[in-house]
Symmetry: C2
Subunit: 232 residues, 2 copies
């Protein structure tokens, strides 16, 4: 789970206006890009972009696995994916983003919103995580764990990953606030979100050390622990 937010680059980014999800956008007078639902066809262009992106990611992950993260240069990735280094940075703002970028937040938001309103924030989160995860196709699930392990074991990536958490925490605070009828900026709302996110990270680290266990169970147990008031 993360924000889908691209990690901030060393200097600065001005992300080109465009669609990252493959849905074609259309410019309207105000200059704001909105989804163009009148022409939902996925052209050759989009398909190629998706394939290119996937190719970059796959080759990068393979190289990371084979030679390590640091030892792998962007140039090597570009070469393996048969693109130019420039193109690499057009698809991923940073080298880290290759590992970190995913897009499960909308899914989580949806499953969270679908929880019955009588549940408390943490219980709703427990359910939402489980349901959301089950909706992810199995072959994708494997990739997630590989990435989680990679992220948690490479300090550099852990740094960047945890950054995304700033964004994810905001998102979680948002949905929690929505449910409780509070403001996302309130300290208490943020506290719950921060604790939940803390547990997610904690569970990930624990999972890396105990790969034979089931991540979902670890996380669920942690959240239950929180609900019980963190008894020791």
């Amino acid at each position: 789970m993360n924000t889908g937010v691209v990690p901030l680059p060393k200097k600065k980014v001005h992300w080109r206006e465009g669609s990252s999800s493959g849905v074609p956008l259309k410019r309207v007078d105000g200059g704001i890009a909105v989804p163009d639902l009148t022409r939902p066809k996925v052209g050759l262009r989009e398909r190629k972009k998706i394939k290119t992106k996937a190719s970059i990611q796959q080759n990068a992950l393979r190289l990371f696995r084979e030679q390590g993260y640091q030892a792998t240069t962007v140039e090597q990735i570009a070469e393996a994916a048969e693109i130019s280094p420039s193109t690499f940075f057009r698809y991923f703002a940073t080298k880290e983003a290759v590992v970190l970028e995913d897009d499960y937040d909308p899914l989580l938001i949806e499953t969270y919103r679908n929880q019955p309103p009588e549940l408390d924030a943490v219980q709703a989160f427990r359910n939402a995580v489980r349901e959301g995860f089950l909706q992810i196709p199995e072959e994708e699930q494997g990739g997630i764990w590989e990435r989680v392990s990679l992220v948690m074991s490479v300090p550099e990536l852990r740094i960047a990953m945890i950054h995304q958490i700033a964004g994810t925490t905001e998102m979680v605070a948002g949905i929690i606030a929505e449910r409780a009828g509070r403001e996302a900026g309130e300290l208490k709302v943020r506290n719950v979100a921060a604790a939940v996110i803390g547990l997610v990270i904690s569970a990930q680290m624990y999972y890396v050390e105990h790969p034979e266990m089931d991540f979902l169970e670890i996380l669920d147990e942690s959240l239950a622990h929180m609900q019980a008031g963190f008894p020791l």
Copy 2:
């Protein structure tokens, strides 16, 4: 609060054997450096190093304030501090470390350990933070808040800062485990530590948005909220 651990550099570090605290070390047969208590005098060398380090940090923070973090290059810092860029990297492994490095963990550990054993983990933490902070000289306190604000408002630094939290979480897990007579590796122990650290970060962010408030109060309120079971 952080680990005092230097953020991991882009490539790799082999930290030179030596003392970062200014206490002279002595080589013994095994090659292991141990504190040399027989000659506790602080030589000219150590004093000069401390002064150089302080000068780098002060000049860097000033430049960051004046022109922003990104816009300030290591070369500029080196020039302002009248050293060579090489020397900069001898004192700070990364540019980020100039902002992030501090050494309050031992203090926190001590005040935590001094808490009466009948207190639960969170209550002990609340007390320890307050007591520890009061022991920091006032002029130093100001610098801490300046750095906290800087860190939380520069995304890049926030990333790196949060990294340190990995280390800090381990430390907190350690002292919590010690108090509860558990193992630091246990999931439940880690959960408590993760939640507490989450609240610390949350409080820092909240503080940056509400600088007129008292950080200690924010954090204390958050921890109390946790003790109460995070009611919304």
